[in-house]
């Protein structure tokens, strides 16, 4: 195996995530898409770390930190979605339109 397939996987995952986050209407799917974007970076980091000339654990540690941070982010995201679901009884992005210019 070489480095390139992993980078390609990361890039594809990042692209799908970005596309999903910008186009999907269900807020939960949007959160999942953001998770995919974060995990694309983790794949990059782990792959770079594995194929590096001087192998260090820096990339793996970085990926571990990112997993924890992504967990915190999605926990906060779900909590806020719950709050808005109680008020509007919907988790559709299109219903979040009470502020317009």
């Amino acid at each position: 195996m070489t480095l390139q397939p992993f980078l390609a996987l990361g890039a594809i995952l990042f692209g799908i995530g970005l596309f999903g986050a910008l186009t999907r209407r269900n807020a939960i799917i949007v959160l999942i898409s953001i998770e995919m974007m974060l995990n694309a970076s983790n794949i990059n980091l782990v792959a770079f770390s594995h194929f590096a000339v001087n192998v260090t654990i820096d990339g793996l540690v970085y990926a571990l930190f990112n997993i924890a941070l992504a967990g915190a982010e999605v926990a906060v995201g779900l909590a806020i979605l719950l709050a808005i679901f109680r008020a509007k009884n919907s988790n559709d992005i299109r219903d979040m339109n009470s502020m317009k210019w």
Binding site: N66, A79, M99
Partner: protein, 493 residues
Amino acid sequence: MDTGQLLTFGELWRSMGPELVLGGSAFIILIVEMILPKGHKEAAAWLSVLAVLLSGAVAVSRLGVSVTSDSISSYFVDGFSGIFKILILLATLLVILLAISSKKAIKLPLEYTYLILFATTGAMIMTSAVDLITLYVGLELLSIATYVLVALYRKDVRSSEGGVKYLIIGSIASAIILYGLSFLFGVTGSTNFGAIGGALQNAWSSQTAMLYLAMFLVLIGVGVKVSAAPFHLWTADVYEGAPTPVTAYLAVISKAAVLALVLRLFIQLFGDKAGIWSQVVVWLSIITMVVGNFGALAQRNVKRILAYSSIGQLGYLLIPFATLNATATDGDLWQSLSAVLFYLFAYAFMTIGAFTVFAVVASDQAAEDVNAFAGLYKRSPVLAGAMALFLLSLAGMPLTGGFYGKFMIFLNAFNTGQYALGVVLFATSVVAFYYYFGILRAMFMREPEGDAKHLKSPVMTHVVLLLTAAGTLALGIIPGLLMQVLNNLHWFG
């Protein structure tokens, strides 16, 4: 400065003193707020004021420290981080006081007391971090805490809605930054700025594409975070939805911290390619100034006007960053950083001041549009006078901090030959006068709507207004005080 060894507590305290005080107090206040009896919970807010003051005292005592004495390998204590930390702590203090003063109008759950401290800890970490992991953890600590802060006011559905929007856009921006940083790690094989800088010497020629990708991904993510146009579309909605103290926090502290992060990253790591990114930042700055100031013209809601005005102000703040092109000398660099910091101090005072007046008026009238300000001069001369001062400072009238800061940025643009930036700064400032005068006219020239009884404001509001007005005026009349501090600072040394 040794890697691979456990840090002693002494080293940790010397390098991260202000953050330890602030983060530690945040945990203490988190517990204290739970066990305080009902009716006395307000004390938690004052404890957080105390924590910020303590942390500020530690931060001030570290200001003159040389980078070699207190730093650890992943965390630099230099003049650059020191002055940014003082700015961030000062603004946090004003924001907490603003939150305390508006407790009658917007009864924020007291969770804000420690959430603000956590966010500020993250902001301070971002100014000092010289390791990709530390830097990203600081960024996320700030971001996640502010997502919660925006959505904290559950009585108003706009707050939750602003929270969702901020969370989604902010997380996408974080993910883009992280994706960029992962390439930077991949090319250089290290997360530490020192090692990355060394590896980049050779890597620019062999791994050009990947490094440019990393650079521009980080720039785009940061552009979203500081709401630079064309990545600004979330700003007005989130600022409108967030409770007013949190809006002030986002407008000042989040922006200052992300600016600190991007300045350190680009100057210390991507300095070789300054000729390329500075051109991109020039355009970013021009578009942001134009979009922010013209966008404000179309708004009726004062909070949204202030949001667009803060986008315009961010455009001004990007000018010194944009002038750091390939020919910039060390002298130009210090001048640019001084201009950014001076304007940030002025911006902190005038923005928080303007939001303080807005909080009182909006809750009194239960309306946020310009009409709510009609005849404010007759109802409360103090509020109207203070608002006039802040708006004139934001517009750049002489004798205010905003004028001197803008003047420094203007000089910086002309000294480095970026005439276009100076001209756009001047032209968009003229546009800004127009929409600020809309509010001024409503306050001074129009009659109050409905019953025009005297508008009473809490004592704490007057304290915040006094502090912010004194700061705005002091920076305008005796700018030498702050300039002297900035001139004597050893930024990265």
